[in-house]
Structures are given as C-alpha cells and as structure tokens.
Symmetry: none
C-alpha cells in the first residue's frame, strides 16, 4: 500500500500541452511530412526526445493532435484483417459506427469545418488520406492504391458532408444497414473493381 500522495504530483507541467499545441500548429500550417518532430520540439521549447517520450511515434503525435476520441488505426483493424473481399462493407460499418457516435462525431466535425482555411485543408488531407485510408490501402495490397483511395475518399467525404454536416434528408436518417447496403458495392468497386484508362 502506498501512502496517500500530497502536494504537487510528479506529473508534467504544461510541457505536454505545449508540445501538443506546437504539433497542431505545425501540422496545420505545413502538413504532416513537412512538419518534423524536431521543429515541433523547437516550437514547444523542449528537446525532440521529449516529444517521443510523451506521444510515441510521429504518427501517434499526429493522431493526438487531431484530438480524436478513437485511434483510427485501431478501429480499422477489422477492415484490414478480412482481406479485399467485403472490405467495402467492413469499411462502411466502421465508418458509420464512428460517425453515428456523438462522442467521436463532434471532434471529427470540427475537423471538417476547418475546410474553409488552408491549414484546415492540410489537416483534413493528412487525416483522411494518410491516417485513415493510406494504411488501409497498404494492408490490403491494392494496385493503383492512390487512385482507388482517392475515389473511396470522395464518396466517404461526400457522405460526411451530406449526411452528418448538412443533414440532407433522407440520407441523414437512413439506417446503418441501408446505408451499408447502398454504398458497400460502390466502395467495393472503387477498391477492387476495374479502373478506366
């Protein structure tokens, strides 16, 4: 048994928050690849090693900077594990489960609303393509992955805007099952179907 702790905890000052703020600023301004861990550390006034100490890898830092309640990489595991067959449907199931949960939807909507400004656009691009779809395409071993994934993105982003942001009926009220049944063949075609050209 440990004695009840008194006074100031060993915990961090505001260093962690400073790093997070610096990361958000950097990622928003310059995008993921052009924002180095070192530059984040410099902005926060700390050493680069501290960034890793608090947040792990650079990917982890980015996810933390987005302030999401779910770790996309974890949520997308079931999508990837089943292989290409039925990946469209599984992707949609994860998609609606995340977006229909208010706890996760609200931070994501905040991200989407940043679409008006260049920094928000950069964040969205990296968030959607790099953190969410990129790993999926890699794990599925897609051919022409960038092309296919940008098609998938175009449909998913459209659903986000029309269903969750603009709340256009009747799409906004469609059940999970109907939504999955409607879009699964389309996404499956984008992921694995023939491509023109």
């Amino acid at each position: 048994m440990s004695a009840p702790r008194r006074g100031r905890r060993p915990g961090a000052p505001d260093t962690r928050a400073a790093i997070l703020a610096a990361a958000r600023e950097g990622f928003a301004a310059s995008g993921f690849s052009r924002t180095s861990v070192r530059s984040v550390a410099a902005t926060a006034g700390v050493d680069a090693a501290l960034v890793h100490h608090y947040f792990g890898t650079k990917d982890d830092l980015f996810v933390a900077a987005l302030a999401l309640r779910v770790d996309p990489r974890e949520a997308l595991l079931p999508v990837v594990e089943g292989g290409l067959d039925g990946a469209g449907e599984r992707l949609l199931r994860v998609f609606v489960s995340v977006w229909d949960d208010e706890e996760t939807r609200l931070p994501l909507l905040a991200l989407v609303r940043g679409i008006a400004e260049p920094s928000g656009q950069q964040l969205l691009r990296d968030g959607v393509m790099r953190v969410v779809l990129g790993p999926v395409g890699e794990a599925l071993g897609l051919d022409e992955a960038p092309r296919r994934l940008s098609l998938v993105a175009s449909q998913l982003v459209g659903i986000v805007v029309v269903r969750y942001l603009l709340a256009v009926e009747p799409l906004a009220s469609m059940t999970h099952d109907d939504l999955v049944a409607t879009y699964a063949p389309v996404l499956q075609g984008y992921l694995g179907g023939p491509l023109p050209g």
Copy 2:
C-alpha cells in the same frame, strides 16, 4: 396624381454590376462570413444601403454572386432531355464542365467553404438540392427521388471537396473522360438502380 418625371431616371448606371463584381471577389477570396456587406459596398465604391437596395439580404447577394455564368436549369437541360438512360454520364459531363471552368469554379468554391457555418450550410443545401438536383429528379420522373438525389449529392459533393477543394491526387488531375467513366456507373446506379429496404 404625380407630375411627369423629368431629368435623370432613378435607374442604375453600372452600379449593380460593380456591386456584383465586388461581392464575387470578396466571397471567393474570404468566404461568406468574412465578407461584409460594408466591404462589398466599399470595394464597389457605393453606400452599403445600395447593396441591399439592389439585392436584398446578404444571402440574396450571395446567390446572385454565384448565379453568374450558368443558369443551372439551362445547363442541365441535356441531362434531362435524354431520359433516365445515360443520365448519370450526362450529369457528370455537365458537372465537370462547370467545375473545371475557373470562371464558374471560384464562386462555387466560395459556396462550399461556407459549410463551416449554419448560414452557409443552408445555402449549400438549397444550392445543391433545390436548384441543381431537385429539377433533375423531377424531370426524370424518378421514383424515390429524394433518396436517390441525396445519394447523387453525396458523391458529387465528395468529388467537389476531394478534387476541387482539397486537390487530393490523383483525383485532382484525372481527365474528364476518366472521371466520367469512373463515376458514371455509380451515379447511374443511384439514379435508376435498385435501392435497399
């Protein structure tokens, strides 16, 4: 009885056009909320009250600003005239011709950037569903028109955001023909294919 009017008419010189140009410039550069009626008036070199006199509310001004080159009902005629068969492809051809023309794209992008705020959302909803897709569904005599049209909207809006706003590659650089070939079957399915439920 009023005496016959003499001298200079109350009518406008080119003031109306000047206001419209100023509005277009402001909305395209800064979006709806950050473009004040006062700033539009100032750019046009007139009084703010004149803006309201010519165009009514700020929303009206916005709509007028983006209704410049193309009349949606006119542009969509070829889509509607051919009937349901091939309507997806014809809709896409009109879509890309409008969005790949900078003259029409810039004001439309200003509209899209308004999705961050409720007023902009309302304008976008009306713009997409009532002005563009609504008449199409009506003329084609679609069954379950609202449902089908919200599906079509979800894909078109997604293309707008990913290709024209975020400029995600390779979708952003895809040729007209490839884009049409890719999305036409999907839109055709939304318009005329089977629906779950």
